[in-house]
């Protein structure tokens, strides 16, 4: 096991519950990261100056129209990806489950790619179109996966079938993406590959505002499932006897996740490893109870994505690294390291 700070140590001088301590601590860290991120960038802007009206018009324009929506989008997407990862892992009772595993992300990705290559030239409302395509893609995958699961009935065989269905959908979406790349024009290809690597560059107020509302709704649905996800860990028959309606829980979590993740993919492309990494690390630290794990994952995911995005736009400024590339580069090796540590401990 990895030595992580033991929060019980603080009980002596902080007379509040562990849940409160952890969540307040994570929120404080997120606010610090947001402050740092708001002040960094290719253009040195002081957020205080902008808020007090002492900055030049260009800075004000850049800060309000580009940097602030981007920050908020980072928070929303990070929280959604990590939160849905935690919920999926609870649903499958498997710490390696993730929305990308079910094929939701790649299904959304395929639909968005279809939109970019085949329909975008028609011009009208291209951003909302991309948005709706992602939404629709995740929903389709969700319905397919559910159709298969329903025919299988309950039990662990159904979970295995779900995972295999996800694998098939991922493969199919990969092949579909290949075909689209083949027929795409050079300009579309560049757009596809940039978007495919995952980036928050597309943050604009009109899309971000809608995304924030919808993602907040999806996160709320997940939060309401926390206690039931705990029960599900007992196995379906025992959980049923303990008062859990497992099919309602599954429906709620899969719908919330597919809508939220479809939205994220449409706006930012596939940002890997957040949904896997954040809940995994937090579970080692906080234990498996979802009433703490879910909100902690959401805040932690937002924190990680805001930090990663700030690095992505400052490390090679004025050029920008796609943040999805960065999270995969940082997250992949760390995850392998975690797996190796785990196996040695067993």
């Amino acid at each position: 096991m990895i030595a992580l700070p033991n929060t019980d140590r603080f009980r002596v001088w902080l007379p509040v519950s562990r849940t409160t301590r952890v969540l307040v601590g994570l929120t404080a860290a997120l606010l610090l990261a947001l402050g740092w991120s708001a002040a960094s960038g290719a253009l040195g802007i002081s957020p205080w100056g902008v808020l007090r009206g002492q900055a030049d018009p260009l800075s004000v324009q850049v800060w309000w129209q580009l940097r602030l929506p981007r920050l908020l989008l980072g928070v929303a997407v990070g929280a959604m990806l990590a939160g849905s990862g935690a919920a999926m892992q609870g649903l499958f009772r498997n710490p390696l489950a993730d929305p990308t595993l079910l094929g939701l992300a790649s299904g959304a990705g395929l639909f968005v790619a279809v939109w970019i290559v085949l329909f975008q030239d028609s011009g009208a409302g291209s951003l909302y179109g991309q948005f709706a395509a992602g939404f629709l893609g995740a929903l389709c995958v969700c319905l397919i996966v559910f159709g298969i699961a329903k025919r299988q009935g309950g039990g662990s065989a159904a979970v295995m079938t779900l995972l295999l269905a996800g694998l098939a959908i991922n493969t199919l979406a990969g092949a579909g993406g290949g075909v689209l790349a083949f027929i795409a024009s050079d300009e579309q290809l560049r757009q596809l590959s940039l978007w495919g690597m995952g980036t928050l560059t597309n943050a604009l107020w009109r899309t971000t505002a809608l995304a924030l509302v919808l993602i907040a709704a999806a996160l709320w649905l997940l939060m309401r499932s926390a206690r039931e996800l705990d029960l599900l860990q007992l196995g379906e028959a025992t959980a049923h006897a303990a008062g859990l309606d497992a099919s309602r829980l599954k429906r709620r979590v899969v719908v919330a996740t597919s809508l939220g993740v479809g939205l994220c993919v449409a706006l930012t492309g596939v940002i890997g490893f957040l949904g896997l990494l954040v809940p995994h690390c937090l579970r080692l630290w906080l234990g498996p109870g979802h009433r703490l794990l879910l909100p902690a994952s959401m805040i932690g995911g937002a924190l990680l994505l805001v930090v990663a995005d700030t690095l992505a736009r400052t490390v090679a400024a004025p050029a920008e690294i796609p943040v999805g590339l960065l999270t995969s580069l940082l997250g992949g090796p760390y995850f392998l390291y975690l797996l190796m540590r785990r196996n040695r401990a067993c």
């Binding site: 009772r93 025992t238 049923h240 006897a241 303990a242 309606d245 234990g287 498996p288």
Partner: protein, 253 residues
């Protein structure tokens, strides 16, 4: 009180229709060879697999009409060993499915000889220890959720609760189950493989074979060597029953 009125299952694994009553305060053992349908029957009693023939009534209301959440106040299930998905701490796992007082959790851990493991991670426990944790969880659900509403202690369904226990722990567990049945007027339904445990501790026995209940009644009536030898296709040798008149069965060498 749970009553069965020609209740059965028609899709495999099937259960032939049967009548019966499970009364508060009694310990009912379900026995039978491998594949006889013991776990399936337990699943039907729990309502997880709703009866496809006839019906089950709990407290005079059809089992299908009970909302899932309310049913959890009246009966709990301890399924055969299944690893919990993540690394829960023992006392957290015992509390899952109810909102028990600290003293109830402590008392149950003490009852099942688990107090020294309260803060250990469940995945680090042995099979027998984990089995007792899951039994404590089932009892905890009933005892903390039942007291507020009920006239009796509800129904605790256990699927092979002694399969990973040594003989000392088997004795302590069976005595504990009898204790809960008497003290809280809890009905306890146990799937058991060890016929001598059924004979020694059960008030009544249901004998299952190929999805059918062959016989039911007092242990000394049901567990007679002739029937058992035939149903289990085993060769038995006769031993004198216990001083209390309970039949004991042993395999011939």
């Amino acid at each position: 009180m749970l009553t069965l009125h020609q209740a059965g299952l028609t899709t495999t694994p099937t259960i032939a229709p049967l009548d019966g009553t499970i009364r508060p305060g009694e310990l009912l053992a379900i026995v039978g060879p491998n594949g006889a349908g013991k776990s399936t029957l337990l699943s039907m009693l729990s309502g997880f697999r709703p009866a496809e023939l006839g019906e089950l009534r709990l407290d005079e209301k059809s089992l299908n009409e009970w909302p899932i959440a309310e049913l959890a106040n009246r009966r709990a299930l301890v399924a055969q060993q299944e690893l919990p998905g993540f690394d829960w701490q023992t006392d957290e796992l015992v509390s899952l499915g109810s909102n028990p007082s600290k003293s109830l959790v402590a008392a149950l851990l003490d009852d099942l000889d688990l107090t020294h493991l309260a803060k250990r991670s469940v995945l680090s426990l042995s099979g027998g220890e984990r089995q007792r944790v899951m039994i404590a969880r089932g009892a905890c659900q009933l005892l903390s959720r039942c007291s507020s509403t009920a006239k009796d202690g509800g129904i605790l369904l256990l699927d092979e609760p002694t399969s990973a226990l040594d003989i000392g722990q088997q004795q302590r567990l069976m005595r504990q189950l009898c204790g809960w049945a008497a003290q809280h007027r809890m009905a306890i339904v146990c799937v058991l493989h060890d016929l001598n445990l059924a004979s020694t501790y059960a008030d009544r026995v249901w004998l299952l074979h190929q999805g059918q209940r062959i016989d039911h009644g007092l242990p000394k009536q049901v567990l007679n060597p002739a029937t058992i030898a035939k149903i289990y296709a085993a060769e038995l040798q006769h031993i004198e029953g216990s001083p209390q008149g309970k039949p004991l069965l042993a395999l011939a060498p």
